[in-house]
């Protein structure tokens, strides 16, 4: 995990909401500040670690926090009379796993490390982290070495991930410096295995090498990812929009893409865009 993920993701708005629930208290607003420890304590979905309490002093990997939720029932500020206003819950994506990964995962990572180390690239430089979650293996790969990694995954007889099921994107606006993720799904028909290669790029420089030279199947998938997320696949034979019209402005699947409301023919009212409607989450 990179340093960018360590930053406090709590927005001022959210901090206000947690502070506002106890207006009677004399404690300063900063008393309810969400600390790193609180984030960890309140985080959900972390893999259970045996002996975590024993070596509590050991540095733990920073959490990949995607959201911090306060209160319940979607009410914030003085309107919250539920009594749950002080509740702080962090949501974290599954963090990097440690060995043993289990099953064939170790073997694949070992072989990949061997191939990468032999070529001089170095496994540690190419693969940022390995995530094993819900029985699926994810390799977070640095974009400079993506082509070499997928070529090794395809060509090494012990890996032989010869079938690509395409690329798609995910946009995490809060992950400064790694907002756009390109997710490659590959399958080894020979060994009956499948894994995911994930590459994160900053929104300010959304460049990533195209894998079409290794997996020609990714041609249209990369065009779609460019179309929807604005990720530029360098070296693609013809990176044109595929689903949206050629002259379309913007990239619709990004989280900050403005959504339209629906005008209603009654006193100029409109139905608000979906992201501005009342929601519970």
């Amino acid at each position: 995990m990179t340093d960018e993920r360590k930053q406090d993701p709590v927005t001022p708005e959210k901090a206000d909401a947690s502070a506002a629930v106890k207006p009677g208290e004399t404690a300063p607003a900063g008393a309810q500040k969400i600390t790193e420890a609180a984030l960890e304590a309140g985080s959900q979905n972390l893999p259970a670690r045996s002996g975590a309490r024993a070596d509590a002093a050991a540095p733990r990997t920073p959490l990949d926090v995607v959201d911090v939720r306060t209160g319940m029932f979607g009410v914030h500020g003085t309107g919250d009379t539920s009594g749950y206003g002080g509740l702080v819950a962090t949501v974290a994506m599954p963090g990097p796993s440690e060995r043993p990964y289990g099953g064939w995962f170790d073997e694949v990572v070992d072989v990949l490390a061997e191939v990468l180390d032999e070529s001089g690239t170095g496994y540690a430089n190419a693969v940022e982290s390995v995530v094993v979650d819900r029985g699926e293996l994810t390799l977070n790969v640095a974009r400079e070495h993506l082509l070499e990694v997928v070529r090794a995954l395809r060509d090494d007889p012990d890996l032989r991930f010869e079938l690509s099921l395409g690329v798609s994107g995910v946009h995490f606006p809060h992950e400064t410096g790694r907002e756009l993720h390109a997710v490659h799904q590959i399958v080894s028909v020979t060994h009956g295995r499948r894994l995911r290669v994930e590459v994160a790029v900053p929104q300010s420089d959304p460049h990533l090498p195209s894998t079409t030279s290794v997996y020609p199947a990714n041609d249209w998938h990369e065009r779609e990812t460019w179309d929807f997320f604005g990720i530029v696949f360098d070296g693609h034979p013809g990176l044109a929009r595929i689903q949206m019209p050629d002259d379309w402005p913007g990239h619709p699947q990004r989280k900050d893409y403005p959504l339209g409301g629906i005008p209603v023919e009654y006193k100029g009212a409109t139905v608000p865009p979906p992201d501005q409607r009342r929601s519970y989450s």
Partner: protein, 450 residues
Amino acid sequence: MTAPTSQTPHATRHVPQDETQGVPSFEASGGDWSDIAEEAARLGEERIVVNMGPQHPSTHGVLRLMLEIDGETVTEARAGIGYLHTGIEKNMEFRTWTQGVTFCTRMDYVAPLFQEAAYCLAVEKLLGITDDVPERASVIRVLMMELNRISSHLVFLATGGNELGATTIMILGFTAREEILKIFELISGLRMNHAYIRPGGVAQDVPPGAIDSVREALVKVRDYFRQLEDLMLANPILQARMKDVGALSLAACMSLGVTGPLLRATGLPYDVRKTDPYCGYETYDFDVPTQEAADSWARLLVRIEECYQSMRIVEQCLERLAKPGPVMVADKKVAWPAQLAIGTDGMGNSLDHIKEIMGTSMEALIHHFKLVTEGFRVPAGQVFQTVEHPRGELGVHLVSDGGTRPYRAHFRDPSFNNLQAVSMMCEGGQVADVVVAVASIDPVLGGVDR
């Protein structure tokens, strides 16, 4: 009024043939005329670009094919898609996890139950309740998917035959499909866009008498298949049109990510139901049919044989359905609170449930309301779940941020991927064979464009 002179309006004279001799003519749309004329003069050859589609009956919807032809030979083929893009994936990000089923079922509308199943399996994997889904729900899912596979392949046979001018095949195929759609209507309430498979199970148990109806329908469908085989398999015209047309080798399939019947027609028995079983497919007895020829005819044979294998699976499902049981997970925090029932005014929440929430239990009412309006939370993470779709490997990539709605939902539609092979299958062949080659891919543009 004046007498007619040369200045008064009149119909254009017929252009004498000798005036157009040797004059190059070009069709152009868009762009600057001088650029087009310049390029044509530079190339100095007859280059004809034909736009097939997007409105063309043989392109299975709104597929646009740009063909560059030399006489009757296709020298370059390009596929243009996006005419049916409706932003389903984006829409799903603003609906609850359960409501997502209603969206994804509309992607590939010829095989809607596969999108539903793949999506629900992915949600269950995210929730970690894959093993808690009741066995009966899985059996019903398999039953519905395999019936859907037959109906989807019947559409392939029907439209493929129609495109070659064989309307009898079309009528037979669609009539046979009708038998299966009747079963879908009986079980899910709808002929298409069912939203029947839900995270945690299925929307409702099979109604009484459904098992017998499926058995009766299978007999009829088998009969229709026999008729179709009699019509097609020894038909010299069909063989002449399909054999050695649109060939795609195993190496080409692997590099282009082509899966499904196209891949199995090259001899590789790759089927997700066998390699990566879901819904208990490992407990069913069925074969993966393959062919060696890798042409359109081989794909036809593979699909027909797959239908028979699907019937085998359906029969095994019917035996297992004799034992009653729950069809939704026991966890009340995930399970949809109400089972549907047929009332006097159509299908809706069962009266027993209405009576409970409106008359006896306030807590049940609150629970129902919360689960239906807010939905359930799904732990953060990402999963990729694939199922064997009639057209290939369908993948669902779901990302959750711990909320009640998907953070990102992406469907790797097999037709989207397989359409990339159009160029390889058509270039160097005849224009008429383009129709056969595209039909053998069997794309459904609702799934391609999503």
